[in-house]
Amino acid sequence: MKIAVLIKEKQAPVGTPLFSQNHKGLSELNTTLFIDESDSAAMKEAAKLKAKIPNSEIHVYYFGNNPYMLRSLLGLGADEADLIKINDEQNLFEMTKKVSEILVDQKFDLIMTGQQGGGANGVGPALSNLLGVTLINSLLELEQVSTENYVATRTLGRGRRQKLTVQLPALMMCDQTMEHDGEPSLSNVLQAAKIKVKEHVLTTQMKSDRMTLQTPSPRPKKIYMPDSNISAHKRLKQILTGGVKERTANRLEGNPRDVAQQFIHFLKKQEVVKK
């Protein structure tokens, strides 16, 4: 099986952001590079599949500039690696077409990437469309059923999960919360240290331009406020109680054992505890 893994080198300021002189980039002084958890998960999932399925190989496409960052992933089980240099000022989405051109000839069975990493900014979904492969997002678990058939578990938030059946070829976006254990083996790490990373520069005519970077100015989120059509005295009261309306509480007191029994009964009624 041919697996591609797409990884994006991310950067973020440590503490208060500092900008380059023209405000179009971050000052490197307090910028840290990192690989998103979801991208690491994609790499680890790919390695897991490779270990299970004979004759598999992994080709890593790394969008970023620091070869050492890339190397930290290769030990997980990469066979080939491309370091694709990108300009940080560009909107990565606008490069998906070029990326799809690189990938399309390779005819990968499976493309793995991170929901919040390489696949973010709409890149993952866009690639699935351009390559014409099935898309799975928010992946938490993957199970092989037959050569081409897989069962994928996704997270839908609020603790909800969904199981899907998928056929390859597919592009799968791993969620940050996907769990993996195990560390790369030393032989893989040693091997990875000697992988010849192919470097190329990705250029494309950008449609949008970065004008400036600035400190964040979020728009207002929801906030508690007293009702507007009530008297000042009532407004004040609402503020004092944090807006929780006074409820007529049922009271339970007495022997702890009895109290506990009654409370458990209440929990059963609430369907928190099975009856």
């Binding site: 991310k10 300021p13 952001p17 971050l26 989405f93 998906t96 973010a120 900014n121 993952g124 979904p125 690639l127 699935s128 469309n129 898309l135 799975i136 994928a152 839908l156 609020r158 603790g159 909800r160 999960r161 969904q162 199981k163 899907l164 919360t177 449609k207 949008s208 970065r210 004008m211 400036t212 970077l213 600035q214 400190t215 964040p216 100015s217 979020p218 728009r219 207002p220 929801k222 906030i223 406020m225 109680t241 944090g242 807006g243 409820r247 509480a249 049922n250 009271r251 339970l252 007495g254 054992r257 109290v259 506990a260 029994q261 409370f263 458990i264 209440f266 929990l267 609430q270 928190v272």
Partner: protein, 326 residues
């Protein structure tokens, strides 16, 4: 190319709060561009009644449900196919998984430009000015996209204090059923289920147990953790508990921490300072366990249990079939 499309999400037939906020933003932009506002949603997602109140001009009902298209691939392609025909210049949705997937696919298939995590889109000297959150939310970026030659797709971080009514209704909504234009390999749903409590974030949890200063010691932590485990609740804490290091800061419930909205909230030894109460007021049912009958939490609780938590918790744990840990 002056029409604006907003992708609308529904929850049990109702338009989600986030989508409502985006509709509000979109309406302003449509007016500014002099186009009409089209709302698009999955089939069966939005009830008829909810629709008539939405401040959109046209409603597109996609030819499939979310269950037919769990990862949004069909919807994205479908909308992408219609960009030119419907003279769309700008497509928006809430900044979440589904919105991002659908709009990015639509953008890819219609050669448009997609922007994620936008705070605001405005029109500046005839061009799109995109105000975007980037670098893990630590920096804002302003980008310009020439409007005459491009269609912009953007997911917007929902905002709104909740003070204003969402819709100022003017015209009736024209409902259009969209014909299926695309087909492809779509993953099939096998089942949908609930994850274990410890894997659920506080703000997402359905049952929350809060540890308060009344039981702020090692023993209290052990008991309350075990109780939370037994009933499948996610554990959080009040300010004092977090300040004293019994729980990490991301477990703080209150104004400055997590605002929780569970089906059931149980405060154990929580006195109920106003900032904590603000953090739990969205809870459906509030239960307080406290030895002080005057604790403010007990006054706002649906069920007030008066007694020593160090006696009640072991009894509860025993009653629920757990082994005593302390």
């Amino acid at each position: 190319m002056n029409n604006v499309l907003v992708f609308i999400e529904g929850e049990e037939g109702k338009i989600t709060e986030d989508s409502k906020n985006i509709v509000k933003d979109s309406k302003k932009l449509a007016d500014l561009l002099g186009g009409s506002l089209i709302g698009a949603a999955y089939s069966e997602a939005i009830s008829q009644e909810e629709l008539t109140q939405a401040a959109i001009d046209v409603f597109w009902e996609l030819p499939f449900t979310l269950d037919d298209d769990p990862c949004g691939q069909l919807a994205g392609s479908e909308i992408g196919c219609l960009v030119g025909e419907a003279k769309l210049g700008l497509l928006l949705s809430a900044n979440n998984l589904l919105g991002e997937t659908i709009l990015a696919i639509a953008a890819a298939s219609s050669d448009g430009v997609f922007f994620h995590s936008c705070r605001q889109i405005s029109i500046d000297a005839g061009d799109f000015k995109i105000h975007q959150s980037t670098y893990n939310g630590k920096v804002d970026e302003v980008r310009i996209l020439p409007k005459h030659s491009n269609v912009a797709f953007a997911t917007i971080i929902p905002s709104g204090t909740g003070r204003n009514p969402y819709f100022e209704k003017k015209n009736p909504v024209t409902v259009q059923k969209v014909n299926p234009l695309v087909n492809g390999m779509v993953p099939k749903i096998m089942e949908t289920f609930k994850a274990k409590a410890e894997n659920i974030d506080l703000t997402e949890a359905e049952v929350v147990v809060a540890m308060g200063d009344g039981i702020a010691n090692e023993k209290g932590l052990k008991l309350v953790s075990q109780f939370a485990n037994l009933i499948g609740a996610t554990l959080g804490g009040s300010r004092i508990v977090v300040d004293n290091g019994f729980l990490p800061h991301n477990k703080l419930i209150g104004l400055t921490g997590n605002v929780v909205a569970p089906r059931l909230y149980i405060g154990v030894g929580v006195s109920g300072a106003p900032h904590h109460l603000i953090g739990i007021k969205e809870s459906d049912v509030i239960v307080g366990i406290n030895s002080d009958p005057n604790a403010p939490l007990l006054k706002v609780a649906d069920l007030a249990i008066i007694g020593d938590a160090f006696e009640i918790l072991p009894a509860l744990i025993e009653g629920l079939g757990g082994d005593q840990v302390v």
